[in-house]
Symmetry: C2
Subunit: 161 residues, 2 copies
DNA sequence: CATAACCTTTGAGTTAAGTTGATGGTCAAG
DNA sequence: CTTGACCATCAACTTAACTCAAAGGTTATG
């Protein structure tokens, strides 16, 4: 199978497949005399596994250490442990998200609960003191784990050309 | 207040404060005759607001559009709407995380439920067919939203120097 | 006046997971 | 023998939120 055929069967791009190879994720890549890459049928499975693992939250780095060279020869214990760790990671993130969401909901309520007898600026100060007041040890989203939120203002060129 | 003093009071670095200014997040920056930046006391509040919003999942881009030049003059409606959108974003992510976690847990169970009468390679094929079999329209973590997981093999130099 | 401790700007580096472009080889059809 | 569709490599670009280094000005102190 050429790289173009493999790309079509997996729905990936040629460049992505080459990138995975350069990242050490594809080991079963031979060359024809003319230099073209040629793949065995299992390459489709391997690529599907990779994308599935990515969707589950694994980085390419993690996938590389877990993927065996032979699809029938998994490192059973390492795999199970990695899966358990990933589940724990997700659970931790769920906890943080829950707290962040609760804080935001509370903030919305606080803003909307403006007493009738104060003006906007005074309400702003009141809310502000609540927001910045409880900056104690309340674990919110950890810096670096937050990249997933905020899809606002994604000005990605529509690329009609 | 000099930039160094502001940095100490907020716990940020000088470079980060300059970076926020260049990103359009700090508008109240004057200069002394020698060229040094000088800040009013409210700058502390503004920086605290920025870091708090970041922890809640807002990007600097979003924060910039929401932060008023005057801390008493918020765009009430835009703010409320942004907060609601962020809550919705978090909820959507929670849904995806829940499904991803459930899939991983199911996979762990599946691997461990190896029938006694088949060998490892056969079990691998069996599990593999389950993993890759249900690649239908089950919404897992969306590509791009997954960066938060996978803190494995973070080889960050300890930087003792 | 030398030194340290500040401050300034500018440009480049960091991470992850690729994409895009330049430049050129290979191959089948007409 | 030329056109078009493939394939190859390599370097550079992308995003976000910074950090770091280089090169130099300012200020207080001995």
């Amino acid at each position: 199978m050429t790289i173009g055929e493999l790309a079509q069967r997996t729905g990936l791009t040629n460049s992505r497949i080459r990138f995975y190879e350069s990242a050490g994720l594809l080991k079963t890549v031979d060359r024809r005399p003319n230099g073209y890459r040629t793949y065995p049928p299992e390459a489709v499975l391997v690529l599907e596994l990779i994308t599935t693992a990515q969707k589950a939250g694994f980085s390419l780095d993690e996938i590389r250490t877990l993927l065996p060279s032979d699809l029938g020869q998994w490192n059973h214990d390492a795999l199970i442990e990695a899966l358990r760790r990933k589940v724990a990671d997700i659970a931790a993130l769920q906890t943080r998200l829950k707290q962040s969401k609760a804080q935001l909901v509370a903030l919305i309520r606080d803003i909307e609960a403006k007493p009738d007898d104060i003006d906007c600026a005074a309400n702003a100060r009141r809310v502000l003191s609540h927001v910045l007041g409880n900056e104690v040890e309340r674990p919110t989203l950890a810096a670096g784990d937050v990249k997933l939120l905020g899809k606002a203002s994604r000005r990605r060129a529509t690329k009609t050309g």
